[in-house]
């Protein structure tokens, strides 16, 4: 009885009629609704159900936050201390070309850096933790795409990072920093930060699915951040670096995002490197970098996640 009760994958997707237990099965009953990406694999998942799933899976992680007050306190205290230290301790020591005010200069850099660090470390740790838990197996038995499970984690990471963005902004305002190019431009700057945060969150996700456990993720999720942060114009002007490092810092995505924000906030840019495309088109460069990073990390993360969990 077995062979003819089975719908073989190939036969079903050819839409052939099959005889089941002596009856003709209507073509409709196994003519699967094709998904919007990839043959056969995403049956029944439409853009609408995908976004609903991502929303629910993001909310799943955010609903934990009220029960982790220590985490919230940490995400408020850490950026506050960092911002105030930069502005009041180092601000006087760093001379900017053209004598611009350091506070005006550094806030955009701190915002960009905060988004990188917050999103990447929150997501790498978050995913590594998820993988060590059993709930992920339950999610994997639900009719969801693997991508939506991961997207829930990366979204939650970005949202956590934006708590620190908010705190940094408030501290900046307290210290006298102002966005001087209008509300529209300021909002656009935050959109660019959001997009970049999402890209960094996917980098974190890739690290999270690649390491063996949450403890490793805590380290691996942050080590690569330091060169990225210090080889940029986020906290110091590029012109202060040795000549051979200047192009590296110039092409660093973080420099592009920082410069874009400075431009949109009407703050001093003081990029300091001549004739580099990202310095001349920081907004376009930021968006391009973010999309390019996701173009690589998203499929790679999904692939690693599937390979890792189904063996």
């Amino acid at each position: 009885m077995k062979p003819n009760t089975i719908i073989d994958g190939a036969a079903a997707s050819d839409g052939e009629k099959q005889v089941v237990a002596g009856r003709h099965r209507s073509t409709r009953s196994h003519h699967v609704t094709r998904g919007w990406a990839g043959p056969g694999k995403l049956e029944g998942i439409t853009p609408v159900t995908f976004f609903v799933d991502v929303y629910l899976l993001t909310r799943r992680l955010l609903m934990r936050m009220p029960h982790q007050p220590d985490l919230i306190v940490y995400s408020i205290v850490q950026p506050a201390i960092f911002t105030l230290a930069m502005v009041y301790l180092f601000g006087k020591a760093i001379a900017l070309p053209g004598g611009a005010d350091y506070t005006d200069f550094v806030i955009a850099g701190l915002l960009a850096q905060t988004v990188v660090m917050g999103a990447a470390s929150a997501t790498s740790g978050g995913i590594a933790f998820e993988l060590s838990q059993k709930t992920i197996d339950r999610l994997r038995t639900l009719p969801l795409s693997r991508l939506s499970i991961l997207a829930g984690c990366t979204n939650a990471g970005v949202i956590r990072a934006f708590i620190t963005v908010f705190v940094t902004t408030v501290c900046g305002l307290v210290a006298g920093w102002r966005a001087q190019a209008g509300l529209g431009n300021a909002l656009l700057a935050f959109v660019i930060l959001l997009l970049f945060g999402l890209a960094m969150s996917w980098v974190g996700a890739l690290i999270g699915v690649s390491v063996s456990n949450p403890e490793v993720a805590a380290g691996a999720g942050t080590v690569w951040l330091f060169p990225v942060m210090y080889l940029s114009n986020a906290l110091t002007p590029v012109s202060a670096m040795p000549g051979w490092l200047q192009p590296v810092a110039g092409w660093n995505p973080l420099s592009a995002v920082t410069t874009a924000c400075r431009q949109l906030f009407g703050n001093p840019t003081a990029f300091g490197v001549e004739n580099i495309w990202p310095a001349d088109h920081p907004i376009l460069a930021s968006v391009s970098w973010s999309l390019a990073i996701m173009l690589v990390t998203v499929p790679l993360t999904v692939w690693k996640f599937v390979r890792r969990t189904s063996r």
């Binding site: 009760t5 719908i7 089941v20 009953s29 609903m63 994997r140 639900l142």
Partner: protein
Amino acid sequence: MDNGIYTENLTKKYGAVYGLHGLNLQVSAGTVLGLLGPNGAGKTTTVNILTTLLKPDGGSAWVGGFNVARHPLQVRRRIGVSGQETAVEPLLTGAENLELFGRLHRLSRRHARGRAQELLDTFDLTAAAGRLARTYSGGMRRRLDLAISLIKRPSILFLDEPTTGLDPRSRTATWDLIRELVGSGVTLLLTTQYLEEADQLADLIAVVDQGRLIAEGTVEELKTRTSDDRIEIVLRDHELLPLAATILDRFATSEAVVTRSERRIAVMAPHKPGLLTQVLREMDAAAIELEDVELRRPTLDDVFFTLTGRPMDVKAQHEMATVE
């Protein structure tokens, strides 16, 4: 729609170790298969492959008419799963857990909420509905996990050791619930180490050992697989265990299982009148004093023992290994 489960020559290797070694199973729609086997037999591996969590290395499997490797989403849409380890969100309340998984199963918010209330009630969790699952006891978490697996009213259900960690009252309640579900036409694959559970719930039992199917049938059929009786003796003096074992060996159809700590020896022996009297006479002649003697008809434990030459009970297995 065919809600059965079929596997054909299913094989899974973990490195060099076989988790499954050519497993053939068949669960007809609306029936309950009890997958029975000792630790490491391959029960969880089977469930994980059938629920699309693991990729098999060989063979194929169909659930609800769909090949699990080719149409995982179609399979997932039809199944409910409660794994061996509970998988609930610790930082959500019981009610929030049910609602979340209901909505991820594409129930509307209202429908998910209503269904959550129903299941909280069924599983005796209403009083704890608003508490974080983190604060639940092991048994409560197990019940919440079972409830979650039913949120969408699946037509095919997989339960991996569903009553492990439940107290006797919850266990009986869960059995009743499972019977009710099966009455409503659900196909169920249930793994268990409790023979009683398989006996209570399953229409058919598949005994697996080392990744292979070693016997299949109704409880009654399996019991007739061995016509032998089981003889157990308890000695007064554990020094005499080896001697007593050699004597029993002469009557036995199986190797003697010696449980040293209890000074107990068990064997299978032909169902023959006068056999026990003869055993006792020989023990007496060898000056072996007995504290207890038992002769009984075979249980599923004995069936497992006859089939594999090893006791099903893990503790007994361990004891046997230390005696050798």
